[in-house]
Symmetry: C2
Subunit: 258 residues, 2 copies
């Protein structure tokens, strides 16, 4: 199992990491999108390791978005990640009410918990509308979003309505507001049970969690928490999209090799 002829005193490279490197090369040179790899038991045998060790390498590659594993089917070469625009307001929230990009799941109106109230800058117990939506890209769910709006930010909201109407009303009222700006943050998370279901992924799948604060007239009028599938999504904040860059994996390899 010589790695690359390293000195005995050198730091010993874990088998699974070496395996990953070998597989990356094989994937890049001998396979193309959608193709299925040999099954895990065979691969493990071929490389002379336990199946668990091989799986550790595959886990890495899946986290990088290079592989997709489907139970009962096999391990496939993943398509390059989809660039999902999140910068333009039309992509995020206002104007999206009529778009097909988002599908409303439900809408609740309830008093804010201490936690949520703090984040929204309102008093605890203040009424807050919460719209839950799913973002679709090419018909597939790519993200979930929980949009929290204090009732005080929507003075002209019509009275009681059916849930689906209420969601529409909230979104419509939001569009009427002048949005001065948004501030966002992005971090890594995992899909909880409900999100996992909406994203059609198993619980624990990695997601990019984007938190957006919408400001109007100097006040925070909405807080959106979105979870994007990390396996297939690349969040793009482009201002005026220049040419798209090639998959990062490749870019980074190039740099490393230089």
């Amino acid at each position: 199992m010589e790695t690359t002829g390293q000195q005995p005193t050198a730091a010993p490279e874990p088998k699974y990491w070496h395996l990953r490197t070998v597989l990356v090369r094989a994937i890049d040179s001998e396979f193309s999108t959608g193709q299925v790899l040999p099954n895990e038991r065979e691969l493990a045998a071929r490389f002379g390791v336990a199946r668990a060790t091989l799986r550790q390498a595959l886990d890495q590659l899946e986290l990088e978005g290079r592989l997709v594993r489907r139970r009962g089917i096999g391990t496939l070469i993943a398509a390059p990640r989809v660039g999902v625009p999140v910068n333009r307001q039309e992509e995020g929230w206002p104007g999206a009410g009529r778009s097909k990009a988002w599908r409303t799941v439900d809408c609740t109106t309830a008093p804010a918990s201490a936690q949520l109230a703090g984040n929204l800058g309102v008093a605890e117990g203040a009424t807050v509308h919460t719209v839950r939506r799913v973002r679709l890209v090419e018909g597939r769910p790519m993200a979930t979003e929980s949009l929290h709006v204090p009732a005080s930010a929507l003075p002209h909201l019509p009275g009681f309505r059916a849930e689906s109407d209420r969601a529409r009303s909230v979104l419509r009222q939001l569009e009427r507001l002048e949005v001065d700006g948004e501030s966002r943050s992005v971090e890594l998370g995992v899909a909880e049970a409900d999100e996992a279901g909406l994203l059609e992924r198993p619980p624990g799948s990695p997601v990019l969690v984007m938190t957006t604060q919408y400001v109007s007239a100097g006040r925070l009028v909405a807080l959106a928490v979105s979870t994007y599938r990390a396996d297939t999504c690349k969040l793009t904040f482009g201002e005026t999209g220049l040419a798209d860059v090639a998959p990062v994996g490749v870019t980074r390899e190039v740099r490393t090799a230089s």
Copy 2:
């Protein structure tokens, strides 16, 4: 090992996922930042599972940034993620030459590979400067960056110099350019060997890969590929930072519970 009294016909929840849920509750209620958990063998025994199963749950929690595991020490409750500003130009590149936020590692000047040339919009083989830097937050490395600049974008760059001087010159020249805008993308990746070393993390650690295109006078003048430690970083794109939102984990729990 009753989970929560679910029907036999219900979808069986994996043990490691149930374990994770239990641990999340324990962490939030009974532990505080920096505290060490019982060791893995003891925890596994206490929950009546194999150590490997327990580790699967801990892996999840580490990915979420709730735990930190240190070899020879133990498993600690992680501090909340650090918000790292990446939107303001002063945080990213121009003006950072004199700042203490970035430490230059090296600087190379070489012909562009086909891959890199395509991404930069120059001819293959064109001369490109590459500055490698590390971003420090509170003295700790939080990100690595490879900044690629076509020599054609820096017409006034002085001649040959020592490497450290060259890096400084490239950065200084870049600052002189008027930057019309940047377009960014963020996705999930893993740290390769060299990045891992700079970030003081083992290879394969999750990172947020941010790719930034800098545009000046309608032309792409620089391409930056940054890798941020996903365990401790939260990328913030705030325009004019309002109050910070609480840790997302909590926020999301609140929403789920509503």
